[in-house]
Symmetry: C2
Subunit: 445 residues, 2 copies
Amino acid sequence: MIIKNGWIVVDYIRNYRDGAVVIEDDKIVDVGPTEDVLRRHSGSGHDVIDARDKIVIPGLVNSHTHISMTLLRGYADDLPLQEWLEKWIWPFEANLTGEDIELGALLGALESIRFGTTTVYSMYHYHPGHNEASGLIKAGLRGVIGIAIFHWSRDKNIKMFWDAMGRWHGRDGLIKVSLGPHAPYTVDPETWMRLPEILNEANERYGDRGRVIISSHIAEDWRENELIRDKFNVDIPGGSIFRYLEKFNILSGDFLAAHCIHLNQVDLDLIHKYSVGVAHNPVANLKLGMGFADTPKMLEKGIRVSLGTDGPASNNTLDMFETMKFAALINKPIKRDPSVTPANIVFRMATEYGALNLGYNDLGILKPGYKADVVILDRRKPHLTPVYDIYSHLVYAARSMDVETVIINGRIVYDGGFVNTSLDDVISRVENRVYELLEKVGKGD
Amino acid sequence: MIIKNGWIVVDYIRNYRDGAVVIEDDKIVDVGPTEDVLRRHSGSGHDVIDARDKIVIPGLVNSHTHISMTLLRGYADDLPLQEWLEKWIWPFEANLTGEDIELGALLGALESIRFGTTTVYSMYHYHPGHNEASGLIKAGLRGVIGIAIFHWSRDKNIKMFWDAMGRWHGRDGLIKVSLGPHAPYTVDPETWMRLPEILNEANERYGDRGRVIISSHIAEDWRENELIRDKFNVDIPGGSIFRYLEKFNILSGDFLAAHCIHLNQVDLDLIHKYSVGVAHNPVANLKLGMGFADTPKMLEKGIRVSLGTDGPASNNTLDMFETMKFAALINKPIKRDPSVTPANIVFRMATEYGALNLGYNDLGILKPGYKADVVILDRRKPHLTPVYDIYSHLVYAARSMDVETVIINGRIVYDGGFVNTSLDDVISRVENRVYELLEKVGKGD
């Protein structure tokens, strides 16, 4: 497949105003000015997509969500966190089956694809047959699924991790499995201590393919350290949650810490020292009233900050274009400096850094040898006229719904309609099932 | 025209899940459950729009922008305010003709309409023949244009105000003219003192039709009071800019103060006392690093806070759906309380309060006797499934591009395409003209 005559955004610095991308199987094999690329591939018999007046970008990477929570989108908003969780979210979730989780993931996958996201990290409850992975595959979305681990269900959760590795890891070239210790206030020291041996075992069993990431919610709430101390009777040395985590030997470039709002200097130094990745979720952090992660400081230290939407119950979308704009803007007034988190760096957070934080070394850039996850936007719109700077346009002006074509793993999955699924069918199934679930929690009409 | 079977959102509280709206000429004449409305209007020969699976809302009101600045969208981002203004924006603007201002307004009007906005307040430089008003009219958008007044060009500006009143006030049932004293740091005390007599004269000349609003930029930058003191050698009593403005006898329900970020308690009390309206511009306030207006406190006092995008050079869109989401979210972490600025109140800010702040008593609600400005959104989308709460959906999940049909003053102006204008023609003209303008400021390729 050749995409030609488009404004090709290779990465956060390089772009060709009239460029082309060549895809063979699941890989990008060539990128450059249209003229050069066509010369190199003349007579090659590729399908051609004419991208005149279009912008061609690497697919966006949503590095933190709970995708099946589309089923709870808008179910309860504008409520204090504990009331929201205990009275609304948890009772509803207690009724979800594996089929529900698959259906929610499928709905979320369609939304993600429609909005130009080609890879998600998603942590949720795992059921062997039907789960997030099976939902993503039905839509054709790439994803890393995090098998949630809580200390009260540790053994069962770890068993499920191995089940997921056997059944889903590597499936269809789209799915990776990972360890999802939920958070330091729901995971006790004993459980953290078990994780390095699981990582070793994964490497022994699966070799290189067994390299999995660990992701956890860290420092989302300003009250967390207090909670951890009270719950597990432990010391958080100097109030640094990363100093506390360090002793479990789990910090590394394969550790992805979601949120990281309430950190101190020691935390930042340790994140940098261990090359830990950070998944920043600006919309959900605001919506739940949690705070503003200091991403300018992290980026300045060279920390890989990627972007996530968090779950659709606390956002309420999976829109990474919107997330880029929030990420670019929220720290400017706090620093009283409009030059922090500039557009092209935010674009890097949503693409290259997202890919790296999910353990991919060949994703998030339009580069030969990289995975063919490519998104095409139409720019013949009032709100995208005129154009001065392509990164400014992508972060501050483009809307998720400008996305016109989505290619994942070399295959078109959206071209104005969804290629692999009937949207009407998914919507009907969700509406019917949600009606039943509301009856169960006593909130039916 | 009858719009039936839609989810009719009358205002921030009332909505009909299966409702209908009847429009005759430029007015709404009936609203209610579909069955009742159809019974009342059977055999009336109206055109019928079937809004099954659609959401029908009052058109959004953008209560502060500089709409012609679409021409400078993304021209210079992520820069400190003074550098942005002095090195980039002002030199570019110095070259703009009346025709440019009209073209920029037309482009912005198409964007506004596409995104479900049916009324804008826009302050900019006025040229008699071609200006913002002529641009809005070409697209069919309703607008209040603010004739910018600066102390260094006061007499000319006031002359232009009278010219605009004569030529454009009331034009096509779409345009109102208003006074736009730019800001207390660009308008000297003598100029402020002249304004009440102008308002009186407008009433004498035009009667009821001569009631015009005054709008100004107030307390956008934390350094403003200092600047005003230095520039005009005046006292800002107790650091309250509204105490300073009070003595010019211009505070009233017809005064609309844009931004209002850096206020003290005296300011809030005076805003409330005089029933002054506030236009909150969350996206631009963040983008320029200005700060967070305390809208929860204002709303609690009963102040009418409406929403605006500000100019497209500091946003970079005219997207009021996005603005609603920012307005709902940014104060939650500051108050550490997710229940502030809940979705339905934010919807009220974007509709009813916007209309009131622009001096309309018959706009912003789907109510018999009110102006027929109506927007229809399609909700058969992944990101709008399932639906629990319609206000949550409109503020947190709906995207501007879900807008499918836009009716202004009883006439369809968008139904998948623009009814009054050729988008391709507008885009080509803008692109050509911007190229010339860049040459003039020495920033051409």
